[in-house]
Amino acid sequence: MCAQDATMGKDAARAEWDNPMQFVLACVSYAVGLGNVWRFPYLCQMHGGGGFLIPYMLMLVLLGVPLFYMELAIGQKMRLGSIGAWRAISPYLGGVGMASVVTSMYLCLYYNVINAWSFWYLFHSFQSILPWAECPVNSNLTGPVEECERATPTQYFFYRETLDISGSIEENGGIHMGQALCLLLAWIIVYLFIIKGVKSTGKVVYFTATFPYLVLIIYLIRGVTLHGSINGVKYMFTPKMEQLAKPTTWINAATQIFFSLGLGFGSLIAFASYNQYNNNFEKQAIIVSMVNSGTSIFASIVTFSIYGFKATFNYESCLERVRLLLLNTFDLAEDTISLENVNHWIAELNRTHPEQFASLGGRLETCDLEAELDTAVEGTGLAFIVYSEAIKNMPVSQLWSVLYFIMLLLLGMGSMLGNVIAVITPLSDLKFISHYMSTKTLNGLVCLFCLLLGLGFTTRSGNYWFTMFNDYGATFSLLFIVLIEVITVCYIYGIKRFEKDVEDMLGHRLNCYWKIMLAGVSPILLIALFIFYIVNYIQGGTPTYQAWNKELGKSVVTEYPPYAQAFIGLLLASSVCCIPLTALYTYCKKRNLASGKRERTVSTVSA
């Protein structure tokens, strides 16, 4: 009993949020991240526009809110980080906390690289011509650089000047100094935010949680006033109900809710552990989940109005090129063909001058607005390529660029805070660490460690490793972790004891909604998701990635080499196997302890 108390740490000395508002804003800042901006709009587009909201909202109610509630309850009750909290719930399942810490560590390593890119783009926005607006000139000043010609200026800037990407994951180059500097800056800022623990974090989240909304509103106003934006918004919201019949839609909705809320990383437990014991987390859980989903929808309106603008711009540029081509080939006066009657003239000229028309051959492009809108992109491609392409065509593009990348930075930094605190809180709860160093030193060491390892992502092949971590580092392990969490709390710890704890904290019992969801619906949905992931992974064959080919000027699908595949396996296994290994270790320790006691009792009796 006493030994266990010693590992728990003293309740009385724990730091706390200044007020519940800081806690709510911290959760909002953590949950509302880059995924709301670059993953949800993509899913919305892929799965039938407005119709996607139905599975999304359903999954929020069935899966998202109950699990969010559960994590907050655990953190607030146990008042420890994930390792200590899960060890307290069940000593055999202390590994769950460790798995969370490992996964959060992986996330910390690669997530800050996105912030480094945002800094890079932000600093490059302070120029009269945005560097991704035009192709740079080649060395003999005859034309643009070839790679840039084959691709687009925005792609060239991202792949060549920002990443200096190599042709495949095997070709490692040196570290990109600019990237390394930006990563250093990103980590220094993270350290500044967490330097005094929740006291400093609590003040920072006022800004990181609210300012992105200001920028989103400004962008919404700018977006809907752009020419052609209505095409994008209409396209997005037109529901295609037949998509709802596909199981992938529902699975993607569940996964999006799951990852968007940041469950399973231990950040929520860590945040809640700094709460007052009687804090009303029930209301807060619902508020934060709703705010997160609302932000996703809001951000997708902004994204789609920008999409619509970009698609319309490209479509009209295409029409302009076709118009010029026709004018130049047939030597017609400039004002005969206008943008509206291009298609009419194509038919006309084909009829009147068939041989000359045929000589145009492949140079005549077909301009299709639908095809432009259909180019759905997600992830870093959306944020850094598509968006910057749209921004460069806006008037006063430097201002919009600066605003946009500041928003991306705040979203990313807010999520980083949660990730880093998820790692630091359990570590600082461990007795032997808190005995030897102060929180500031621990924070500094963790930041330094992550920075040094993160430099690997700034090498020339760094983006490929980044994608690998992004796709495999946290997805599968999280599902497993949260599944074990829910089963532990409901069946091993017992839903009755959980109910009593909640009643102790909040003053009222769990109502049936929470009980049914936590004990029944959520585990079933999680198991279904888990099985789907495994099946998908096995069926997918060799894992592949998109490698940038500089000759072609576009990405090609390449298979991972064997050592990279082994590394993927290591990523998946390393966090998941914490759970069985810790259980085994605890079991052996208890057995040794128990057999040791039995021997002593036997000897006393016999003596």
Binding site: P91, F123, Q127, G178, L185, K196, E334, R497
Partner: protein, 220 residues
């Protein structure tokens, strides 16, 4: 009489000869394409014979400037194949011998040298006054000594480092002050023991474990 017939023939023949020299896809000629409405929009002037004459004069000027010979004249610039696009072909004849054409390469050099002047004469640009086959020389990229992004980076990282150092120093000073026993309300130090503080009197209390939940830990 004969002289007069010869003279007549020359008058007729010369333009005919000129027409032979200048034709579509002439080996030593260039096609020029002008996009007035794209360049000037509402302020576009009308392209007429006077403008064509102006073009001839400008080209003659370009040839004079390049070869440093005062002998080039508007007659040496022959235009043909005019279209309503406003495009036409031109060839340049040598001032000494009107049947001989100046080679393409020399014409190109002359145009390149005076391209800026030719563009400005017509209020156009490289893109709207095109000499098909002569690519404009692009402006050399401006390479500042310090890339501008580095300057912004330096400012931001400087500010952040100053912030960190300030925070560290302030907490160090607070700790020193506390060690000297001068603090009474150390709310912003995370290592302080929270003892009951009521009406400014420190109540020394210890956490009584007698009332802890016994079944808080899962039984093995």
């Amino acid at each position: 009489m004969l002289v007069w017939i010869l003279f007549l023939l020359c008058q007729v023949g010369a333009p005919a000869l000129a027409q032979d020299l200048c034709q579509r896809d002439a080996p030593n000629g260039y096609k020029v394409r002008i996009s007035l409405k794209t360049a000037l929009g509402e302020d576009a002037y009308e392209w007429n014979q006077s403008e064509m004459f102006f073009f001839q004069a400008t080209m003659a000027f370009a040839m004079r400037r390049h070869f440093q010979m005062e002998t080039y004249n508007v007659d040496n610039i022959i235009l043909c194949v005019q279209t309503s696009r406003v495009s036409f072909w031109f060839v340049v004849t040598s001032p000494d011998n009107t049947t001989m054409l100046i080679p393409k390469a020399d014409v190109e050099k002359a145009v390149r040298m005076s391209r800026h002047r030719i563009n400005n004469a017509f209020l156009l640009s490289d893109r709207t006054l095109e000499f098909l086959g002569i690519y404009p020389t692009l402006a050399a990229p401006v390479n500042p000594d310090t890339p501008p992004w580095l300057i912004v980076f330096g400012v931001v990282i400087g500010a952040v480092c100053v912030g960190i150092i300030a925070l560290l120093i302030s907490s160090l000073l607070q700790k020193r002050r506390k060690e000297k026993g001068m603090t009474e309300d150390g709310q912003d130090e995370e290592d302080m023991q929270v003892k009951g503080v009521e009406n400014g009197i420190n109540l020394d209390g210890t956490y009584n474990r007698g009332f802890t939940d016994d079944d808080r830990f899962t039984k093995l």
